[in-house]
Amino acid sequence: MMLARRQLVPLVRRVAPSISSRSIASDAVSPAQSVAATTPTDVVPVAVTELLTAEVISGAPSELRHRAVRVYQPTRNTMQSGGAKGERWRIDFDILQGGGRWENPLMGYASSADYMQGARVTFKSQEDAINFAKQQGWDYYVQQPTVKRIPPKNYSDNYLYRPNKLRICKTK
């Protein structure tokens, strides 16, 4: 039951919730999930049974392991029509509640106590991004990309005859 539930809830969370109960060795073990690579990736698939996450030896502050990252594909800017960089995946951190940002009273500059606020990593594929988050030992949430359905369009549709009452006067 528990396992099925974890699979349904897309927020991936490690088992040990508190620092005191964590031992480094148990934390370093993560389930070996082979992600089917559907898109070209930079990662060569290697059968990894035991993953030594970077946080074990990187010396990163322990607060970092209580924060979640989001893996997502940024949507196209609606202000522009270009679609470049649209296939890339991105990892960034949720902001810190309280104390994460403030306006500097002297100059009005934005100050921050959050050392990850500017961290934004780009990947070629979702698998790469997930792999990176796993290796870092970060909790991650994968936000699925939205669907785009554009029907076939044709210039001649402007001049289609419709037998019923006129509903729009085409203008431009």
Binding site: P74, N77, R167
Partner: protein, 727 residues
Amino acid sequence: MLRIVASASRPSSVSLLSVAHRRNLSSTSARQADITLTVDGKEVTVPQGSALIQACEAAGSPIPRFCYHDRLAIAGNCRMCLVEVARSPKPVASCAAPAMPGAVVFTNTPLVHEAREGVMEFLLSNHPLDCPICDQGGECDLQDQSIRYGSDRTRFHEIAGKRAVSNKDLGPIVKTSMNRCIQCTRCVRFANEVAGVEDLGTTGRGNDLQIGMYVEKMMDSELSGNVIDLCPVGALTSKPYAMQARPWELKTTESVDVLDALGSNIRVDSRGVQVMRVQPRTNDNVNEEWISDKTRYAYDGLRFQRLTTPLIKGPDNRFVTASWPDALAAIAAGLNQTGAKGNEIKAIAGHLADTETLVVLKDLINRLGSDNLASDLEGKYGNAPPVHGIDVRSNYSFNSTIAGVESADAILLVGTNPRHEAAVLNSRIRKSWLHTDLVVGMVGTRADTTYGFEHLGEDAKALEKFLSGKVKGEFAERWAQAKRPLIMVGSSMAEHADGEAVFGMLARYVAATGERIVREDWNGFNVLQRVASRPALYETGFVPSRAATSTTPKFIFLLNADEVDPASIPADAFVVYQGHHGDRGAALADVCLPGCAYTEKSSTWVNTEGRSQLGRAAVPPPGAAREDWKIVRALSEVLGVDLPYEDLVGVRDRMWAISPSLVRWDGLEGTSLEVAKAGLGSLMSNFYQTDVVSRASVTMAQCTRAFVTREKTSLEGLGKEPLQAHA
């Protein structure tokens, strides 16, 4: 100048052409045949009837464009998308040319470059050189494309100078700078097709062509902000955002809108601790590419009237700032002092309450021994279980789904004005009305919906008459024959004296028609919610029990409840308000707890079709404000009823236990077919001011003056830039 390059005579792929034309006689589906063509040496298959530009995109060859837009009709007037087609004597505008089977297309040849450079030179000949002071700078299509196709020196030596066009006044949202216009007519097509403002158009021809409303008039539409996105140059920019920020300064956060129940996908752009603007995010299942003006421009309300610190009402009826422990202790003392027991402890959930907090608050109130979980529905209706019931999810959801509206062939609106209650959904109905034979009927207060409809009457009696088949007319005729009829009941009906009768009538009708309205592949019974929190409210069971309905409360917890009727709160009750704005709810309270607005917390929101979506915090909350579910969790500790979860994952596990669909974000669970018991004027009179955020917004106040009260006073001095004199 245009020369035919040698590549133009390459052979086309004949073998694939014959495959595309082979057709199986037994296939009866309406699916169009696919055609195959070659773009830049790559073979690509697209549905028949596609434009050439779509085929080029499918092949991964980006085509520069100004006038072509995926969601608008094709105009073909900017000529920037020229490509070379084999055996064609001259370059072809790829948006206006159909993709032909076997065509061989080149998008990156010297011929194409030279042609596009020529187009760009003409466009720039009349475009002012004011990029440094233009708001589009940094996200301007003309800027981007001139980097590649623009010339580095001018051949423009007109003595009269560049074309000058007077600016238009389109209202408090759209700022115009018509000198910059390149006449792509995207705004005109959007206004005509999507928004239904058919008086935006062009006058004059050639060099004298101008975009405008023909007469001095503002653009009265709930979707007018979208023309700012569509405009490929800086001719139409945002008035509230004018000269506020540059796109490269902004941090983008993908989130969900909560100012109506549609759950439009938005991107919150922030700088430092401020939300600078809100942009749509494309999602064809929800909002396509549009958002309403309230969604887009109510964000300035997030800066005003905020609760930043806990407040306790002193003996002189004035609020005194307090620390969090003091405020929570004051609530515990208040609860003790009133002696409230059982159902006398009441919680009222408001418009902007997120799902996590609703679940935590419901657990807290239940642990205190109460079932009195009300909501701030109009009048006294929130104090009782809703008339449509909450046991069957299809009774309060938009079952056809938002995208499914487009497949309906007859729509009956009951007591709703979708133009105000879900402006983006309304544009879908208009789209369908324009492109299919859709007919719309309406029972309820007559409204301007941007599409034609047959008005069947004002009240429940008219609905009864229609449902019993006693009405003659075109709509009734078409409704009787409709394959996919759709009934859309406004959520205002649940807050109406006749609500029970209306829902009962419709339930009997849906049941009596058998498979016609509700069947395996089509559920045509829909309730259009207009408030973001209500679907989650019903999903989590946040409604009072029958016994609780008649209890006089002594302790009231208002969670974002600002539309609550002050008369319904007893004078001697101890009132706690938790929320982010000092509005009506805070004024009633003895203790105020500052929470987060929707841009400041990562919480779950359920939209009217039951789609649960995860928002994301863009900026930190102001002052001592905290995440809402944490406040309720902390309060539970002070009240001595600890809740069994300590972190967000714990809360979401609890939500999963209540209803798994709440945490299957972005997914949509289908509803069951049993419409157990279904549920006239729309309650939304002012589209622009419906909740605390939009009431605190200056822009929304200006929109109210311009489009609702229609005050004649000039907006001069109010806007950041006075209206420019017409030159």
